[in-house]
Structure formats: structure tokens, C-alpha cells
Symmetry: C2
Subunit: 396 residues, 2 copies
């Protein structure tokens, strides 16, 4: 007989999922009701409104796709790319590469603007690509590259794309809730995110939002959307306005309870306060890591506070360090991906993970783990540096 599963106690400080608050877990355990129940439809409207606030948009077409962030990405591409379309995609990490793959599978022809992993998307290169490829109607890039911890300048990139008559898809999976995503102010046409990063829900849903211009593009399509499940024309029949909702697919009821509660918590805290919280604990973590003689390879102005790439020093074992953190301290941090595999760790401070207690716990465990491997450091210096930072801000 198979036994019930009881997860071990973990502190999630990797690139996602992040720590989930007990309020969100409790919400997910409330009794399931029907996906067409009037009470459920009312909750869906609240989720849409709270997502609009979180994405800083008035886009009517704002909803959570019933699947993880990768399906949010696919929703954007299958609805906006038509067979034969040339699409400029800026690639500076794993998720830009995945965008390219989505373009190809949607029948489009990707024009790749390569940037160095660990650096932001270069606006000049995007501009050059647009000049070299007149008539391109779609540009895609990642605002917050989860694989490197780098933030690109969405405002500038969107402005350039629009100047050349192109719509823009932006990946904000790791950004949303941790760092500003100003959909309307920046003019983003299609944006997708995930729930398991700075929104601190379990994975399984992908918030998306589409501008009026993007909707117009979808309405003008010459070919049907290749995915039935992700076809926004159909999805909107269920998530659309008014009490009358037509059945499309069965929404993940309890996951949506969780997202609703996480968005209520974010509303209670205030979005700007959440951004400031991520920044503050990032600075404390950075101070502590540097006091252990660890290097953050991403330039300070290009760092995502919620996802910290840390160079693995030459005197320790990358994988063994992660294993020891997990097995001895119950702390999960992330490995590097692609060209950064073995070279960096990725330490997340996303959503509910971003608090002083977790920063202290990570620093203490990391110091212990590195010292065990003979890394030269001054015992206690990391925590002292973090405390000094917190003291300097006047907050704990």
C-alpha cells in the first residue's frame, strides 16, 4: 500500500517555487465548488481585478491561464504569432531561448538578438534588428531572466519596438510582485507571469494580460489559434464580463482559491511596499554574502532583488553546497543553468521568502556550509553585515 505523502520541512530560497503563506495553503484546502457556481464566478471577477492592479493595467483581457507559467508563455505566442510571421526575440538566458522555441512551434520565423547571459537585453541591438528587418510586427523579451537574475529595461525596449510599429510580448514570470511591472505605463501588449515566484502561490497558474492592440491583432488572425486549450477567443467566453460564462474547460478551482488569497495579501501589504521589501532584504542578503567573500556577478543596477546569482568560489563544490544546504539545513537554493551551470548559485528572495528571518537563516547556513569545505571567511561576519544593513534602514 502506498502511504500518504508528507513533504519534508523546507525553506524555499531557489528560483521558485517560493515560500507559500499558511493563509494561501489554508485557502487551497477549502471545499471545492463548481466552476460555474455563481459564488465562484464572483471570486473570478475579484481575481481579475486584483491581477489588473498587480499588473498595473486596465486591460479587460487579464486572467490567470489554467496551467503553469510556461503555458502563459505559450498562450501569448500561439495567439499572437501566425504562420510565416517574422518575430524578433531577444535572448539573454534560458527563457528567451524558450520564447524562440515557442515562435518556431507557432509557425513563426524567429529573428534572434543574442545578448550575453548575465547581461540585460541591449536596446541598441534591438533597434538595429528592427531597422534591419522592416515590417516585423512582434518583439519578445524577458524582463526578469530567472536563469541569470538580470533585469532588462522593459520601458525602453517597448518604446523602441513601438516606434518601429511592433507589438511586444514581455515575460514577467519572476518580476511580477517583486519589482515594478507597469503594463499600461510602459505600453506592454502581452504579458505573462507565474504564481510561484513573487506572488508566493504554489505553481499551476499563469496570469496574462493583453492590450487592445494585441486583441485587435488576435481578432484579425488569418489562421485559427493552433491550441484549443489556450485560444483566447474561447478562454474569454469563460473568463469574460458579466454573470453569463460559457463552459470552456474546468478551471483549477482550489488553485484559484490560493491565488485569490495571495492577491488579497498583496493588496493588504501594498504593491509598492512589496517591491520595497524585496529590495531591502536583497540588500541585506548581498551585504552578508559579500562579507563571506562571495561575488554577485550581475552589475548592481541590473540585478533582480528577488533572484540573486552568486558566483561559486573556486574552493568549494557547487553541487555539494546545495546538497548540504538541503540535507543539513532544509534550505533549497538553485543551480545555474546552461552556460552558468556549475558557476553560479541562484538564491531567491521571492514573495513570502523575502524576510529578515530567512535572510539570516540562509546566511548562517551558507557560512557553516562554506566553512566546512574550507572556504576562508570570518565567522559571524555575514550576519553582522546583514544586521548592519538592517540597522542602517531603521527596520528589522
Amino acid at each position: 500500500m502506498t502511504k500518504s505523502f508528507h513533504p519534508p520541512k523546507r525553506l524555499l530560497m531557489g528560483p521558485g517555487p517560493s515560500e507559500v503563506d499558511p493563509r494561501v495553503l489554508a485557502a487551497m484546502s477549502r471545499p471545492t465548488i463548481g466552476h460555474l457556481d455563481p459564488a465562484f464566478v464572483g471570486m473570478m471577477d475579484e481575481i481579475k481585478a486584483m491581477l489588473q492592479n498587480t499588473l498595473r493595467t486596465r486591460n479587460a483581457l487579464t486572467l490567470p491561464v489554467s496551467a503553469p507559467g510556461s503555458a502563459g508563455m505559450e498562450t501569448c505566442f500561439v495567439n499572437l504569432v501566425e504562420p510565416g510571421d517574422r518575430v524578433i526575440v531577444c535572448v539573454n538566458g534560458v527563457f528567451g531561448g524558450r520564447m524562440k522555441e515557442n515562435i518556431v512551434r507557432s509557425g513563426g520565423e524567429p529573428i534572434v538578438v543574442e545578448d550575453t547571459w548575465g547581461k540585460p537585453v541591449d536596446p541598441d541591438k534591438l533597434e538595429d534588428a528592427l531597422k534591419a528587418n522592416p515590417g516585423v510586427r512582434l518583439v519578445a523579451f524577458v524582463q526578469a531572466e530567472t536563469s541569470t537574475g538580470v533585469e532588462s529595461d522593459t520601458r525602453t525596449l517597448v518604446e523602441i519596438a513601438h516606434r518601429h510599429g511592433s507589438l511586444v510580448i514581455v515575460d514577467t514570470v519572476t518580476a511580477l510582485g517583486g519589482t515594478p511591472v507597469l503594463t499600461d505605463e510602459w505600453g506592454i501588449d502581452a504579458v505573462y507571469a507565474g504564481t510561484q515566484k513573487c506572488l508566493s502561490c504554489p505553481p499551476g497558474l499563469a496570469p496574462v494580460s493583453f492590450s487592445e492592440a494585441a486583441l485587435e491583432r488576435i481578432r484579425e488572425r488569418r489562421h485559427p489559434v493552433q491550441s484549443w486549450f489556450l485560444d483566447l477567443n474561447l478562454v474569454m467566453g469563460y473568463w469574460g464580463e458579466g454573470a453569463k460564462r460559457s463552459y470552456h474547460h474546468t478551471a483549477p478551482i482550489n488553485a484559484l482559491y490560493g491565488l485569490h488569497e495571495a492577491l488579497v495579501m498583496l493588496e493588504e501589504e501594498g504593491l509598492e511596499n512589496a517591491w520595497a521589501r524585496h529590495r531591502r532584504h536583497h540588500e541585506a542578503l548581498r551585504a552578508g554574502l559579500e562579507a563571506m567573500r562571495l561575488e554577485l556577478p550581475v552589475a548592481p543596477t541590473e540585478r533582480l532583488p528577488q533572484l540573486n546569482a552568486v558566483a561559486v568560489p573556486g574552493d568549494v563544490d557547487e553541487a555539494a553546497t546545495r546538497r548540504m544546504l538541503l540535507e543539513h539545513h532544509g534550505i533549497e537554493i538553485g543551480a545555474g543553468l546552461g552556460p552558468l551551470a556549475g558557476k553560479v548559485w541562484r538564491i531567491g528572495l521571492m514573495g513570502q521568502t523575502a524576510n529578515a528571518r530567512n535572510v539570516r537563516e540562509l546566511l548562517a547556513a551558507m557560512e557553516h556550509t562554506l566553512a566546512l569545505q574550507g572556504h576562508r571567511l570570518v565567522r559571524g561576519a555575514a550576519l553582522e553585515a546583514a544586521e548592519a544593513y538592517y540597522a542602517s534602514t531603521g527596520e528589522a
Copy 2:
């Protein structure tokens, strides 16, 4: 400020979602851990093994897709259909029609075998279609039509398709856990299901399984699978054998906790016992409904015990009846779809919903609701008929 959402108390007796046991809800509220955590990977292996048992298959490629049943359907079609492929699809309800839509969007050419809504797929028509279209390599149909409550004879239909050299996709969304799905014995090549029917989980996951012949077909593809998210070559890297799992997408951790617990409960009960339980409570429900002079339009041998289509009598209002059941009794039942809209109700006895208490509650509430509208019936007769059936079986 938006308030936390607390769902009203409901008894789910519609076409899904079904009642979710508190054990499953509790499992879903356990702390989230990482999707690459060794403890989580161990749980994934248990889910695969239990799904194999539930689907009665040894197929290595057996896993839950990270999205609702509709995405399970799409997984089967985008992986098995190539542009230009002719595919025979038997349509006797909404979900057969959705299969056709999936074939078109996958670039295939559907050859539709129409059957009457409320009747099973006709094996002779399938045989004729295969004879008239030599070289067709794929057949698809729905075993348990959720829109009508009809079961088709999967064993016979698969046998015919195989005799003509065709692989077979079978929709078992409403079947799995409630009525036999003998994947290997019947020779099904690709099967998908949902979690929110007779497995009694919240919606959000879609168990799928593929035979060796189906895998071979996928390996031989001339075109890449059009969906990145649902491409089995990639999904298998995460759900495959061994401890080494490569990241594809972030799995819905807590939903999988729930599915694991639901499968543990099914294992504890025994799959055959669950089938017998669905049958027993269906018979009690049927006896009660008939005692109220309600008609079950599907022929007795073609009925799904877990989903009962009931003809709306001429003297009552279809929608008002459902609304009164929901508002006065907290009971959700389903409406008819397509040509059956307004003509039938759909009463589900799926998974944990299938017990004597719920049968009694539904019959009492239905009697009250119909009597209020002036439907002629003998008060108390419905419950008496159900009790007489239970007494005849020697079980409560």
C-alpha cells in the same frame, strides 16, 4: 480591500467537479516544496505507479499533465497528429466534437463518424469509415460522454481500429475510477482523463498514458510537436525514469499532493470496489428518480453509473429546478449541453460523491423541488425506492 474568499457549502452532484475528500484537501494544504526536490521526485514516482494501476496499464509513459483534462486531450492530439493526417473521430456528444476541433488545430483532416447524442458510438459505422478510408492511421472517440451520460464499448472499437492498422485515442475523463478502463487489455494507444470526476480531486491535472506503438509514432514524427508545453519528448525529461530529472516546466506541486492522496484512497478502497460502489449508488438513485416519475433517457446497458442524464418532465422548469436545488439545498447538478440543453439534467455520482447519504439528500431535495413546481409525485416514494434497493443488496 478585497476579502478572503470562503466558498459556500455545496454538495457537488453535477458532471464535475465531484466532492473532494477532506484527506485530499488537507494534502493540498501541505507546505510547497521544490519541483526538483528528491522527496518530490519520489512522490512523482508513486503517482506514476498508482496511475498505471488505475489505468490498468504497464505503459512507462503514464503521467499527469500539468493542466486540466482539456489539456490532456490536446496532449494526445498534438503529439499523435501530424499536418495532413486523416483522423477518424466518432462524435456522439460535446467532447467528441472537441476532439474534432483538436484534430483540425493540429493540422489533421478529421473524418467525422456522427452518432446520435445519447447513444453510444456505433462500431459498424466506425468499421465502414475505416473501410471507406484506407490508410487512416488514427481513430479517436470518447468512452464516457460527459455531455450525455453514455458509455461506448471501448474494447470493440479499439479492436476494429487495430484490425485496420489504426492507433486509437480514447477520452476517459469521466470514466476513470468509476467504470473499468482496461488500457492494456483493450489495447488503447493513448488515453487521457481528468482528476475532478471519479478520482475526486480538484480540477487541474490530466492523467495520460501512451502505448509503445504510440510512442513509436511520436518518435517517427516528421514535424515537431506544435506545443512546447505539451511536447511529450520534453515532458518525459521531467517525468521520466531515474533520479535525474531535467527541468521542463514547474509542476503544480500542491495539486499533485492532492492527486497522490486521492490515488492512495482509491488504492485503499480497491479499484473494483470503487467500480461496484458507483454501480450500487447509481441503481439506488435510478430507483428513486423513477419513483418520482422521472425518466433516464439513456438505455440501461449504455448508462454511465457515475453520470445520470435525467429527462426534464414537461411540468417543471429546467433552470429553475437547478437554481432551487443550489440555493435552497446547496446541491449542484448539471444542465444539458448542445441539443440536450433544456431537455436533461445531469446528476453526477462521481468518486466521493457516490455514497448513500448523497443519494438520499439529492432525492429528498429533488422531490421537494419538483413538488413545489406542481410535478405529480408520491411524497416519500423516491427515498423508499432507494432504500428498497439498498436493502436488496444487503448493504447501506
